[in-house]
């Protein structure tokens, strides 16, 4: 199993690497296109501001490479959002893998959403063995709107897509690497895809 975490300068990569280490898998951190293409599984992480992160992807040409990947890819948090068509954060054009847009939460709720919330209507092998209403840790100010690719739903002021899937591309808004045992199970499921 060759697992690569795309290292383009955005996010808490160490935590993801450690989470896989707890599952017995040594992940490689890389921004090298050859190494990424040769991987069995790929994690596309991201924390921070969308336009800054997108510029970092463009600098290394990864914005072109990522949508062409054929193996299972898991976008986490901002990684998932960048796989969408666009995001209101910094009015950024996304990679367009997921057929939906990313909007900012309204000020009727506290922004960012920070903490544990439930995921429902689970529809993917990624959630094998995960209970409806399982708690996941989320930290975000922007959310993906529902589309036909929604595979998990969460309520925070509105009901939004907390996970998406299109072919070999998976995206989760929550942080499985910080979501206790249920999160670890999702990472384990991803390794089995």
């Amino acid at each position: 199993m060759k697992l690569v975490i795309i290292n383009y300068g955005a996010g808490n990569i160490k935590s993801i690497q450690f989470a896989f280490k707890r599952l017995g898998v040594d992940a490689i951190l890389s921004n090298n296109p050859d190494e990424i293409v040769a991987a069995d599984k790929i994690i596309f992480p991201g924390v921070g501001e969308a336009s800054t992160a997108m510029n970092m992807l463009k600098e290394s040409g990864l914005d072109i490479l990522i949508p062409t990947l054929k193996q299972p890819v898991l976008g986490i948090c901002l990684g998932m959002q960048l796989l969408c068509k666009s995001t209101e954060e910094g009015y950024t054009k996304g990679l367009g893998v997921f057929n939906t847009d990313v909007k900012r939460f309204s000020n009727d709720v506290k922004v960012p959403q920070m903490g544990w919330n439930v995921i429902k209507d689970l529809k993917s092998d990624l959630f094998e063995g995960i209970k409806e209403g399982a708690y996941m840790y989320l930290v975000h100010s922007y959310y993906a709107e529902h589309c036909e690719q929604t595979i998990a739903k969460t309520d925070y002021g509105i009901n939004y897509a907390s996970a998406l899937q299109h072919n070999n591309f998976y995206g989760v808004q929550f942080h499985p690497e910080k979501s206790s045992l249920a999160g670890e199970k999702i990472l384990e499921n991803f390794l089995k895809l």
């Binding site: 808490n12 160490k14 935590s15 450690f18 989470a19 280490k21 707890r22 924390v47 921070g48 501001e49 000020n107 506290k110 922004v111 960012p112 959403q113 920070m114 903490g115 544990w116 919330n117 439930v118 708690y135 840790y137 930290v139 975000h140 100010s141 309520d155 925070y156 942080h175 690497e177 910080k178 979501s179 206790s180 045992l181 999160g183 670890e184």
Partner: protein, 251 residues
Amino acid sequence: MLTKRIIPCLDIKNGRTVKGVNFIDLRDAGDPVELAKQYADIGADELVFLDISATLEGRATTLDMVLHVAEQVNIPFTVGGGISSIEHVDDLLKCGADKVSINSSAVKRPELVNELSNKFGSQCIVVAIDAKQIDGHWKVHLAGGSIPTDIDLFEWAKEVEQRGAGEILFTSMDHDGTKNGFANEALAKLSSELNIPIIASGGAGNIQHFIDTFKEGKADAALAASVFHFGEIPIPELKRALKNNNIEVRL
């Protein structure tokens, strides 16, 4: 629904966990990594590590501890204490900390909040505020609560929100160590005037205090130390009691 969070705070000195009673008397309560793992296992939602010796010790000790916690613990954690530069925050986040909390350094140079949130994102910048009432007015205090300032708690909290803080950790110096309950009136005011999460700190003594701070204080999370470290309030029991009082928690 987003749940209310229960956050044990681990004070760290010389790589060991300690808890200050009214910030002065220090008692040893164990190894931070082991304690953190135990807390994650019994249902703590998040952890805060406060390096109370940060100004005296080298950064290496704390960074090493952060790395070990990140390796072994599967819930989010915040690191605070003596943080005053972008480089220091960068080091802590690279070692696996999810958030950092800044306190006195933000009061001394408020632009630091903007710089950190611009570089790392609001989501990982917690501004900790220690305050106590002087002649009926909540005033911000520095250096672990020992130095009073003329700054109003509510004005300061609003300012750091505008500068990009993602969360406020408010400790009432009047309540801390008393075990008489949280500063719910001030907390409710913070929660209504700000649109970022507020963590209540200082005064936890029994389960009812947590119920009150979520219901009356409108807090998004509650932090405590000794009542958890010495087993006075078991976290599973606390969370069941919250649930029975119709407060959303992760069980």
